[in-house]
Amino acid sequence: MTRKIHDLADAVVRRQLGRRDFIRRAGQMGIGAGAALYALNHAQSIAMAQNFDWQSHSGTSIKLLLNQHPYADAMIANLETFKAMTGIDVTYDVFPEDVYFDKVTAELSSGSTEYDVFMTGAYQTWQYGPAGWLVDLNEFIQDSAHTGPEYDWEDILPSLRASTAWSGVPGEALGGDGAKQWAIPWGFELNSIAYNRRVFDEHGLEPPTDMAELMETAAKITRDVDGMYGIGVRGSRSWATIHPGFLSGYSNFGERDFTMENGQLMAAMNTEGSKAFHRDWVQMIKESGPRDWSTYTWYQVGTDLGAGASGMIYDADILGYFMNGEGNAEAGNLAYAAFAPNPEAEAPTPNVWIWSLGMSNFSQRKDAGWLFMQWASSTDHALFGAREMDFVNPVRQSVWDDEAFQNRIAESYPGYLEQYQASAPGSRIYFTPQPLFFNLTTEWASSMQQMVGDQIPVDEGLDQLAESVNRQLRQAGL
């Protein structure tokens, strides 16, 4: 019987057998889940250790700083595997998202040695990197002494690899020459439309295909459907208001946040095209957005969709994914659609948010930390997360190609995969990297709040915004 379970585990290692199936079959053989998992870990360790010395830092202990997020949950669920494979002990602190980045900033800026590896977004690395708080991971990725042959860095979607690498020169393209790999992409979200199919069907609505339709459909829902408003988008006084649906649509019209003039960054929010898009966006919120839009972050946007308070959202695709699950009034009623607001655009241009893993420059166990990052962003773990947990959207092409994953998504979230496939090619970070990112996007959001609140006309507001942004760029010496 011991023999049998080991064969079974090897099958998992060779990816001939899913983990869940493995546990089920082990159960049929009368082996408890604990013992089975142990066998599995053992098999995996042996398999990976054949080509690479995973045990090189056995006995070390590292600590992670994690955001409370399904990705972290998926990793924690699989963490025993890593511990067994490497002999490294891993502890972790999970903080709620509301305060997570403040906590990260506080830790890094005080030079804390507490945490070795932490979750971060790509935008944050534009601050953390130049501040000297992050390790350039190229030195690990490119070094075979540190990175096993199975890691397959190239398998990670190229746009994501590029989006987490930057030279540190304001305005210089992400992933360009001399770019430092400040973080490893882990999971990501792109922005598209999720809608309440039940309501759409009842009222004979179709998912919108351009901005005019979006506004029209949203207005119709607000007018016709009792107790429901048309379109959920974020609106809080924060950078987070700019980066999802808004910037995706904005970019679809070819608008930019900054331009380079004579080697200087210049605000580009007050072009005619930008003003036109802003006018539409503001009008849409006023007509058919949430009434308390200016306090909306992703969770209000999501909650409203799940509870049937909004007809659709233009936000992160996985938000619609999560809201389709049980515990929500509209569970099972949601559908997804890729969205290109510009009728002349060839394809959607979703801005992306990338949950990534970064390494603290103050870490005293960097090598062990890298082993963890390597494992956590490995195909093995990504497959486990994608098949059995909510580790979506995966960053590896091989995982998107995995049939088990595809079947699972197609089954429970019809349309999600199609939405992804339509959105993915044009998806990347559309912001211009620069260290005043949070400062200036927050001001952008604040400015938009004033427009929606009728404190200032759109055009005038954008001119003022551009002026203020330029002034701050000069003050910072950019």
Binding site: Q127, P130, S236, N439, A476
Partner: protein
């Protein structure tokens, strides 16, 4: 403990015992020492405020004297912050003072009901503002919010609470009032109940009208309490962070960008340590001046009260 040392030191009655002179210092020193530890970071922060110091630009760090302050003073949004903070403080302290005084007067008599009521009214104070605000956001949500529903019954079907510029200040002042009026109430209630009875009994015998009694006897005698309560509330109000940050993060627009919210964003989101420190130093100076005025008044009144007694 200290007793042994003292008696031992003073057996010679012809010598002034050192202990008597030293004792008050010995008693107050531990508290002071513990707090002095906090003074060191305070000094460091003051030092930061005179530097160009943005964590994301480590290369540009340098000492720039008062440039951070000068930049602030030239920035209209900073003066907006000053204005909003003072307005917020004025409204919260004012409303809570009136409301707290009113409730204290209602609960003045020492009955079991009044005592229980005064404890129950403390409940809002016991819920951390940071969490309470989550609940307020839900309750003022236009779809699911019970408060939106209730004001809707009165015809305000489109009341937008914290999300509209025109009502945002009202909303956060209301929440602040909900949280902190109990604090005001309990201090003033204590004051009311500690007032000597004779003047009131005399006034009642003479048939003096109640309004006269209130303005000419109750209020003046209550002033020291009012000052103390207002002082503590003022200190917290002008430094308000939890409620505003949780409700609107300073929005909509710049409507509620008070000192600490501005400084927090500068520090933890924009990593601009120098500017953040400068903003907070200005806040500190304002707080210091206001408290000094309050405390001077309080000491003066206390001296007066003691002189009479």
């Amino acid at each position: 403990m200290a007793t042994e040392a003292m008696t031992g030191a003073a057996t010679n009655g012809a010598k002034r015992p050192l202990m008597r002179k030293v004792l008050p210092y010995l008693l107050s020193l531990p508290a002071l020492l513990v707090c002095i530890g906090i003074l060191i970071p305070f000094g460091t922060a003051a030092w930061y405020s005179m530097q160009r110091y943005n964590l994301a630009f480590p290369m540009t760090r340098g000492f720039i004297w008062f440039d951070n302050y000068i930049m602030l003073f030239q920035d209209p949004s900073f003066w907006h912050t000053v204005r909003v903070s003072l307005l917020y403080t004025f409204f919260t302290v004012g409303v809570q003072l009136l409301l707290g005084l009113g409730i204290a007067l209602l609960l003045q008599r020492r009955t079991l009901f009044n005592n229980i009521m005064s404890i129950l009214l403390l409940l809002p104070l016991m819920i951390a503002p940071a969490i309470a605000s989550l609940m307020w956001r839900l309750m003022t949500n236009p779809n699911f919010g019970v408060l939106s529903y209730i004001v809707g019954l009165f015809g305000f079907t489109d009341f937008r609470w914290a999300s509209a510029p025109s009502t945002a200040l009202f909303t956060v002042v209301m929440i602040d009032t909900w949280v902190y009026t109990p604090f005001m109430m309990v201090l003033l209630l204590a004051g009311l109940r500690a007032l000597p009875r004779q003047p009131f009994e005399a006034a009642e015998l003479d048939g003096v009208p109640q309004s006269f009694v209130f303005f000419r006897i109750t209020l003046p005698m209550l002033t020291p309490y009012i000052i103390t309560a207002a002082l503590f509330r003022m200190l917290e109000s002008i430094q308000q962070f939890d409620i505003i940050y949780a409700m609107t993060q300073g929005g909509p627009g710049n409507t509620l960008m008070v000192f600490q919210v501005t400084a927090y964003l500068e520090r933890y989101q924009y990593t601009n340590v120098g500017r953040s420190a400068a903003i907070l130093m200005v806040l500190w100076v304002i707080t210091f001046i206001l408290s000094n005025i309050f405390i001077k008044q309080w000491l003066r009144l206390r001296e007066k009260a003691r002189g009479v007694a």
